[in-house]
Amino acid sequence: MTGYFELTWLDVTISLSLVGVLLVVALVQRLGIARGVFFGMIRTFAQLMIIGYVLKFLFDLSKWYWILLMLAVMLVVAARTAAQRDESRQPGRMTTAGVAIAAGAVVTMATVIAFVVRIRPWYTPEIVIPLSGMVIGNTMNAVALTTTRFRSEVSHQRGRVEAALALGATSSQASSRPFREAMRAGLIPTMNALMVVGLVQLPGMMSGQIIAGILSVQAVRYQIVVMYMIASGAAIGSLVAALLMRRQLFTQRHQLRSEYL
């Protein structure tokens, strides 16, 4: 294929030396992350190899239930990752993250499948899996930032929140500022991405196509759709996460549940 620069396994092995630099720095400076670096290196290799075969399997089978199972696995992993970033002792963090990420991803993907790409069948894996992966990944980051920021804002502004409650404000009135701050924090990375896309960093999807030598107007159009999808998923996920957090941090009687701060 013209313009296609093929990588051999030897090339991949040579690229390992790049991680080797990190490993050496971690060991010499005693950063205490050498173990993590080593396993991260192994996991990157193993996960990408396995997912390559899984995707090939899915694409060949093209059965809706296998695709849904794959999306469910992606969602659970994303929910778990988002919940782990929240260091509170609040129960149900993973459910909160899962519901918020699912809300953002499902609404966005349903809209894109039904009105933008209009694929038949709706579960065409070559489209659904990579697009869902990008939406879920970005929504996961927005949800994790929103939930951690909401909790820390309420915690830092506890005096003000309780002063508002004591004046007769409802929990949504009393937490309106933390709510806004949390959503803003959750959406800043997406906002930044929309502003600088193509100027600072070429998105992964486009980079892949450039390297594979198939960059086209089609690829650019897809990338624009992807950017809008990411924005939509992050916005819905962040909003749902903030709404769920507010329900959990306050009782029905408009009392702050300080044990969760």
Binding site: R89, E162, A163, L165, A166, L167, T170, H254
Partner: protein
């Protein structure tokens, strides 16, 4: 010997009927509160902060809650304002159990001023106007009514447009008073409102509290560990030690002839911070960890 043994049968508890003015504005009966926290290992730890506290406050009375730090005074006020839910017992406002009330309505009727002013970012007007907005006051009426509240709290109208967070602590606490008064509460709960202030600012706040009660007729529950303040402005008081109400009575009665040994030791400054006498080990409600 522990503090609890000292209570014995001497303790003179007023119960819910001992208000001088007849019908109680606020009647508290057998109030308990246990704080529950999640622990690092996923379990829960529980700590009894208040146990079986009863007292009553008459209409337009200035009622003191006095006791050492960590006695549960702040927790008691939080329960009265509905910021926390009691584990047991009842609170009645004008004879009506607050458990059945809409919480936002209760809090407009029973306002609270905290130890620290906890003002919102923005101007003084933003702060006082917020309470008026919650109370449903139309936008065009807010400034006029808000300025009246400021004046009642001893601040001139020019403060309305000033940045709330750039005021002195004493001025900020006055804004907190004005903000609480804006909802026209029937009862005002004051949680050591002078604790963060210098002596001059503190004495001005104490004078303000006395004046408010006389001019507006608002019923006041005043929490303090400073006996002079209680003596100066309170009609009656509850002595709260180690999470238990040990004695309720008039200020002269409590100060001059306390019925309970623990009250006497507290007034004489000989009670240790945990409500215990001498080096006795605690076996009563855990009073440590501050007032929360």
């Amino acid at each position: 010997m522990t503090f609890r043994l000292l209570l014995g049968s001497e303790a003179r508890m007023g119960g819910s009927t001992a208000t001088p003015n007849g019908e109680a504005k606020l009647a508290v009966e057998g109030l308990s509160f246990t704080r529950s926290r999640a622990t690092a290992d996923g379990g829960r730890s529980e700590r009894e902060v208040l146990r079986d506290v009863s007292f009553s406050v008459g209409e337009s009375e200035v009622f003191g809650v006095i006791g050492p730090s960590g006695a549960g005074k702040t927790t008691l006020l939080r329960l009265l304002n509905g910021l926390d839910t009691p584990s047991g017992g009842s609170i009645a406002l004008d004879g009506q159990d607050v458990a059945g009330m809409e919480m936002t309505d209760l809090r407009r009727r029973v306002g609270m001023v905290f130890q620290t002013p906890a003002l919102f970012r923005g101007t003084v007007g933003t702060n006082v106007g917020y309470a008026l907005e919650l109370d449903g006051v139309p936008r065009e009426e807010r400034e006029g009514r808000g300025i009246a509240c400021l004046e009642r709290a001893g601040l001139p109208p020019s403060f309305w447009a000033r940045d709330a967070l750039e005021l002195s602590q004493g001025e900020q606490q006055r804004v907190a008073f004005a903000r609480a008064l804006a909802a026209e509460p029937e009862v005002l709960l004051l949680d050591e409102p002078t604790s963060a202030l210098d002596p001059a600012a503190a004495s001005r706040i104490v004078a303000l509290v006395g004046g408010l009660n006389k001019e507006v007729g608002v019923t006041i529950v005043f929490v303090t560990h400073l006996l002079d303040q209680a003596r100066q402005i309170c009609d009656r008081a509850l002595v709260l030690i180690g999470g238990e109400g040990v004695e309720e009575g008039t200020i002269p009665g409590l100060f001059d002839c306390p019925a309970c040994e623990a009250t006497r030791l507290f007034i004489e400054g000989r009670l240790d911070p945990h409500g215990l006498v001498g080096n006795a080990a605690p076996d009563g409600p855990d009073a440590g960890g501050g007032d929360r």
